[in-house]
Symmetry: D2
Subunit: 154 residues, 4 copies
């Protein structure tokens, strides 16, 4: 546990924009689970899995932060309390990874794969839910299990 005194725990959620309803429901449960345990939810701030996780976090009065690929802070989904506008496109993925204590990846395509790769390179534990099968990812079998494992692996 290397969380700095004062600094709040931050859990990242990765995943695609175009995913099925079952994945969105998992993401929402992941978001609410993170918020229940007091963590800040950090994500890429856009739609799909990211938005669903924010909806879940806000349902529990959690704090949501989006590290946006866009150059303006007004973009991103409607469930973000704070938006960091990087103007860097998907290069912002490394900033997300550097800023979190653990991550949960849900489904996702190549963008999610780059985030998983950064996690494993930088030593941030990443929990997987129906996502890329890369050596080093900790698999979970439910949203609740994923949240529990994320907090255990901070």
């Amino acid at each position: 546990m290397t969380v700095r005194p004062g600094r709040r725990v931050a859990i990242g959620v990765f995943g695609g924009r175009d995913v099925g309803d079952d994945m969105l429901q998992m993401a929402e449960k992941v978001g609410s689970g993170i918020a229940k345990l007091g963590g800040i939810l950090i994500c890429g701030g856009m739609g799909g899995v990211m938005e669903a996780a924010c909806i879940g976090a806000k349902s529990q009065d959690g704090l949501t932060l989006g590290i946006l690929p866009t150059s303006t802070k007004e973009e991103g989904n409607s469930y973000l309390d704070i938006t960091i506008a990087t103007g860097m496109g998907s290069a912002r993925n490394s900033i997300i990874v550097r800023s979190i204590d653990a991550a949960i990846a849900i489904d996702g395509k190549y963008g999610t794969l780059s985030e998983i790769a950064y996690c494993l390179e930088m030593g941030v534990n990443v929990i997987g839910l129906s996502t890329w099968n890369i050596e080093g990812v900790i698999e979970a079998n439910s949203p609740e299990d994923a949240v529990a494992k994320a907090y255990e692996n901070i």
Copy 2:
């Protein structure tokens, strides 16, 4: 007023790490003023003016966020609730500017000058307290005046 519904107002504070006590006192008052009005304080997360502003914000139970130049989230001053670790050095200055609704610059050297330049380039209003005299900066004559002008110029 272009603040997105849901998204909280964010005010940036710029300024140097090595500054006199008078500047630190001004920064602390600026930070507390921002928090009293409900804004999130976003800064570069390091010492000097940045730390003093965070101390002020926390004295009013405000929310503080540091967009760090460092590659690890454990760095930054001790009064930050959230740390975004960019690993980008002073290139992170443009991210700070993109993520705020208005800025207050206090004293500062060339790093602060680059932040002021980015504000003016990107159309973010910047209020100046004993800082660089660049055309476009809105001068303030006290910390209270600076906070008032920042909120007026969102």
Copy 3:
């Protein structure tokens, strides 16, 4: 073929710093092959596969460019004609990918995986030599084959 008139073709080489001699020999052949066909070699600028590829390119009087993770341009291997110092750590991987016409990945760990992911996300063709087995990577069976396939897939 979308290479801009005037702009020279640029081929990226990805791969790890700590790799075996067989991989270094493959990288050197890849570098010389790229140079023989007139392309600029762009890489991350550090040691291992990256340095070996530069050695190969310089043996054929090719032009080598390193997009460094470091904040100073004096770092990077000794076989670079041009060094771009990003000061961004591995976030510079997305800049490498955006700047090349095709890529060759040799061996490599999670950093290389993030580069492959960025290629596939951004539509840059990536040829693989003993590297990550990710759907979308075009496999090659020799350095010569990799160079040929890279130029075919610009």
Copy 4:
């Protein structure tokens, strides 16, 4: 003189996109002067002063490199041999500064001011031609003088 053995000298040229003909003529002379002395011309890659400097450099068979704000390498002016696509907007200014041995600033607005500020912060000497009057900038009185002073201040 801290130029790394093997690495070629790189001179940066800063300046605005919308400038008068007199500034464009100065920029062209600056570009040709840099190329005559064997340096690589590095700039932001877009129009105005940047394009004029590239035209000058290419008239002397110099090598031109644009560090683009855009996310695709096909953008930028038509006189660039190499394009680095950062996808980072004006945050790329710090990358330009980190990658050069000295800079020449011609005219320019707030974007140029941010580049000057980064130079002075990072200890890269910057020569000024009709540009921002900031303490630390070395003034030149002609394009030839600017080029001479840039090489003297590597």
